[in-house]
Subunit: 502 residues, 2 copies
C-alpha cells in the first residue's frame, strides 16, 4: 500500500463528486441547508462572497446605464397568464399565497385564515410585474429605452435541491429593458451577456462558452436565449448566466406601447437577463479541490489570514503587535478597487486553525512566529499550492508584491480551469463514439462534445432521453462547417455544444 | 386677494398633509403604488436613495463587528409559535403559502395545487428562523457573541397602506445577535440604537428622541424595546428605528444554549434591531416642502444637476462641451467618502426641466447658458432656498466649495427640523391642556407632549382611546422629576413622550 496523502475533505472529488460538493460547502461554512424545504441559509463567508459578486456586477451594469429599482414579491395569478409560454413554464413550481392571516382552529392550532380573492404567486421571475410598470412609464419613444435591474429573492419550487445549485429560494439579479426597436433590444441582450462573460471569466476565473439556446431550452416566452456555459470538474456543464431577447411577446402581454417619431403606436421590444447564487455553486465546482473551497482573489471574502504563533504568554504581546501592524499596513492596499481584507486568527486550536482557512479557500495564509518576527518576515502559504508548501517571505516583499501575487493566483485558477475545459471538449462526428463518450464511470463522463445537429427537436429529444445529454448552446464562435447530425445523420452546417448539465 | 405664490405641489402641506405626501412622492418619481395589494414599486430615484441609506448603515454595522448573512423567506408555521407573544403579534397579518404549484381547474382557469403539509409564512421578521440556525452554531461560550445582519424583504399584511410608511411588503435590515450574558446583550441593544441615531441625525438630517417603549408598545416577545422617534411636519411622531433586548425568551424558544467557562449549560441572551424603507417616508415628511421632496446631501441619489441652456443649435456643441467638462471635474470629488453624482439634463422641455429636479429634491441645480460660459461660471439654484432664488457663481468657486456647500445645506435641514421639533414639544401638566393640545385642526394638532405617567397600562389605554395618542417612548434623557400622571393624577417620577403617530 502506497502512502496516502491526507486531504481535508472526505470523500475526495474522485471518490464521490456530489458528496464532495456537499462536504466542501459545509466545511467552508459558506451555507447550510435550512429546515425550510428547499431553502438555504447563506452564512457570512458565503454571503460576503455574494456581496463581492453583486457589488462588482452592479457597477458593471450601472456603467451601461442601468438603474436599480424594486418590484413586488407577489404576482397576481392573472399576471402570470399574460404570456402563454411563460405561465406554462412557471406554473408548475411556484409558491402560492392563498391567505393573509392565521387563526386558532380546532385544538387551538393555528390555521390559515382570510382567504384572498385572487391567489398571489411568489415571484419566480418578474417579467410580468415589471412589464405592468413599464406600460405606465412608457408612452413616447422619448421614454425609451427603460433600463432597469432588480436585486431580489425569487422562488421556484424544487423537489430535489442542492445548496447554491438548485434551491427553492435563491438570490439573483434580474435586468429588464424596453427598447424602441428590435436591433437595439438585440444589442442589449448581447451586451449583458458580454458583461456576464467578462465578470465570470475575470472575477470568478471561470472560462465559459457563449452561445444561444435551442428553441426547446429557451426561457419560456423568449425569442432568443443567450447563455454562458461553464465546465465543472466532473465535466458537466453549468449555465452561469442567461440573457433573453423577448421580442414583443411580453410587451404585448403587458401592453408596453409607445408612439414613435412618426406618431405611430408600436409595441416595445424587451429583454431580460439574470445571474443568481447558483453561480457560487459553479465557482466551487470549478475550482475547489480535495482540501476544500478555492476563492478567486477578485471575489474572495478575505484575501489574507494572519496566524500569530506564540508558545509562551510572554511572546504573545509582541507577536500580536507585529501582526496588528502588518494587518493595518495590508488594509491600506487596494486590490482592483477593493480594500484588502485581512483576518487575524489567534484561536488556540493548533493545526486545525490553518486547515480551517484552507477549507474556506482564502488565497493567502501568513504564519507569524517569533522567528518570522525576528527576520521581519512571514511564513506564507498560498491556496494555489499544496497546503504544506509554505515559504518564508520578507514582510516588505510580501506587502509590496501582494497585488501581483493575488493576480498571479487568480490567473493560475483561470488557466487551470481553461486547460481542463479544453482537454475535455472534443469534436465528435461518430454516433457510437458520441454515445461512448457519455458512458459514465462513477458519474464522471467524457465532457463537452462539439457535434453536428440538424436543428430538429426530435433529435435533441432522443439524445436527451438516451443519455441525459442536452444541447447546452449553439456557440457563437463555432464556425460554419458542413457535417451530419450526430443523431439522424441529416445535413448540418454547424457544431453545437452537447453535455450533461447541472 | 393677496398674491398667491405658486408651488410645485398641489395641495400644499397646509391644505391637506396626507394628500401632499402622496403627491410629493409621485412627483419625485421615487415610488408608486403597485396593482398588487399593499405592495409598492420603488423607482430608481427612490431605490438609489435606499442604496445610499443601506450602504452607509451597512458600513456602520460592520464597524461594530456585525456580518451579513441570508436566511429563508419562508417560516414554517410551527416556528412562529416558538415564542408565545411573538406569534400573537404576527399571526394576524401575514402572507400564508399553502400550495406549491398551479393547475388547470374548471374553465381551464389556473388554481392552486400541491397543498403543503405545513403552511409556510412569508417572514414578517426572522427571529425564529435565525434562532434555529444560531442554536446549531452555538455550543460553547467561545462561539459567542454571534453578530448577524440580514438585508431582506418582509411582509406584514396591511389593510390600509401608504407608500414607504406602511406597505405589506417592505425592505429592511434586521440584525440578530446572541450573547453569553445579559449585560453584553443590553449593551449591544443600546449600541445599535446609537448607530441608528447617528445615521438618522447625521445622514438623514432628522433629529430624534431616544428612549424605551412602554410594555404595551414593545416588540412581541421583547423584554425591552428601544426606539428613536422623529417628528413629522404635521407634528405626528414616526418611529425611525427600533432595537430590542429579547432577554432569553427567544433563546429558550429556539433552544440557543451554550456551555459557559464553568461547563454549565445556559441559554443565550439575544437582541434584534431594524430599520426599513419606512425611514424614507419619514425623511420625506420631515424635510419636504410645497415644492416637493428634499434630499439631504449625505443620502441624495444625485448631488448636482447641470442644466445646459442654448437657444441656437450652433451654441449646443460648445455649451455641452463646457457642461461635460464640468461634470467630469465634479465627479472627481468625494463627499463623505462617496463620489459626487452629477446629472446632465438637456431635455428640451423648457421651465419644467428645472422644476422636475426641484420636485425630486436634488441639492443643487446649475444652469449653464452662453453668458455663464463666457463668465466661466454657473447659475446656481439651491434646494434649501426658494426655487426662484438663483445666483451666478464662478465655476472654480463652485467646484472648490462644493463639499462645504453640501455640508451647509445638510446642516440647514437638520437645524430646521430640530427647531421645528423643539418648538412643538411642550411640557404639559394639566389634563385639560393635554386634551386641548391634541384637538386637531385640519389633522394638525399640538405635537409632542412631555407629560407625567404613573406607569399604569390603563392610563395609557385610556389616552389612546380618547385621543389616539400613545406614549412614543420613555426618553433616556428625561430627568427624574416628581409629578402627577396626566391621566389619573397618581404620583410619577418621570415625564414620557406622548404623541399621535404614524
Amino acid at each position: 500500500m502506497g502512502k496516502k496523502v491526507t486531504t481535508a475533505i472526505t470523500p475526495t472529488r474522485e471518490e464521490d463528486y456530489p458528496m464532495w460538493y456537499q462536504e466542501v460547502v459545509k466545511a467552508s461554512e459558506m451555507a447550510e441547508k435550512s429546515p425550510v424545504r428547499g431553502c438555504m441559509v447563506i452564512r457570512p463567508w458565503g454571503y460576503t462572497l455574494w456581496e463581492n459578486i453583486s457589488s462588482q456586477l452592479d457597477e458593471m451594469f450601472k456603467e451601461t446605464g442601468v438603474k436599480n429599482a424594486y418590484f413586488p414579491l407577489f404576482i397576481p395569478l392573472s399576471y402570470l397568464e399574460k404570456e402563454a409560454e411563460h405561465v406554462e413554464g412557471f406554473a408548475k413550481e411556484c409558491a402560492v399565497v392563498t391567505h393573509h392571516k392565521l387563526e386558532q382552529g380546532e385544538n387551538k392550532k393555528l390555521v390559515p385564515a382570510g382567504e384572498l380573492a385572487e391567489p398571489l404567486i411568489v415571484r419566480p421571475t418578474s417579467e410580468t410585474i415589471i412589464g405592468e410598470s413599464m406600460s405606465k412609464w412608457v408612452s413616447s419613444y422619448r421614454d425609451l429605452p427603460v433600463l432597469i435591474n432588480q436585486w431580489a429573492n425569487v422562488v421556484r419550487w424544487e423537489m430535489r435541491t442542492r445548496i447554491f445549485l438548485r434551491t427553492s429560494e435563491f438570490l439573483w439579479q434580474e435586468g429588464h429593458t424596453a427598447h424602441a426597436n428590435e436591433e437595439e433590444a438585440r444589442e442589449r441582450t448581447l451586451m449583458m451577456l458580454n458583461v456576464y462573460t467578462k465578470f465570470v471569466e475575470e472575477c470568478l476565473a471561470m472560462p465559459v462558452v457563449r452561445g444561444s439556446k435551442t428553441p426547446s431550452e429557451r426561457f419560456p416566452g423568449a425569442v432568443d436565449t443567450m447563455c454562458i456555459e461553464a465546465m465543472m470538474q466532473d465535466k458537466k456543464a453549468l449555465q452561469a448566466g442567461t440573457s433573453h431577447f423577448l421580442g414583443q411577446n411580453f410587451a404585448k402581454g403587458s401592453d408596453i406601447k409607445f408612439q414613435n417619431a412618426d406618431k405611430q403606436e408600436q409595441f416595445a421590444w424587451t429583454t431580460s437577463w439574470g445571474v443568481s447564487t447558483r453561480m457560487i455553486g459553479g465557482m466551487i465546482m470549478t475550482h475547489g479541490d480535495d482540501d476544500g473551497v478555492i476563492m478567486p482573489p477578485r471575489v474572495a471574502p478575505s484575501h489574507v489570514v494572519l496566524l500569530p504563533i506564540y508558545r509562551k504568554d510572554e511572546e504573545r504581546a509582541e507577536i500580536m503587535a507585529y501582526t496588528q501592524a502588518l494587518a493595518a499596513e495590508l488594509r491600506q492596499i487596494r486590490y482592483h478597487g477593493r480594500k484588502i481584507v485581512v483576518e487575524i486568527d489567534d484561536r488556540d486550536i493548533g493545526g486545525a486553525r490553518g486547515w480551517d482557512w484552507v477549507k474556506k479557500g482564502i488565497p493567502l495564509r501568513a504564519e507569524i512566529g517569533p522567528k518570522d518576527m525576528a527576520n521581519d518576515s512571514v511564513f506564507l502559504g498560498r491556496r494555489d499550492k499544496s497546503a504544506r508548501d509554505k515559504t518564508g517571505v520578507k514582510k516588505d516583499t510580501f506587502v509590496d508584491g501582494l497585488c501581483d501575487l493575488l493576480d498571479e493566483i487568480q490567473d493560475t485558477y483561470f488557466q487551470r480551469a481553461k486547460a481542463f475545459m479544453a482537454a475535455n471538449t472534443v469534436d465528435i462526428d461518430d454516433k457510437k463514439a458520441f454515445y461512448d463518450f457519455y458512458k459514465s464511470r462513477k458519474g464522471i463522463h467524457g465532457g463537452f462534445a462539439m457535434s453536428h445537429w440538424c436543428g430538429n427537436d426530435a433529435c435533441e429529444a432522443k439524445i436527451k432521453e438516451d443519455l441525459s445529454v442536452t444541447i447546452r448552446c449553439i456557440p457563437f464562435d463555432s464556425p460554419q462547417e458542413k457535417g451530419e447530425c450526430i443523431c439522424c445523420g441529416k445535413p448540418s452546417n454547424k457544431r453545437v455544444l452537447f453535455s450533461k448539465a447541472y
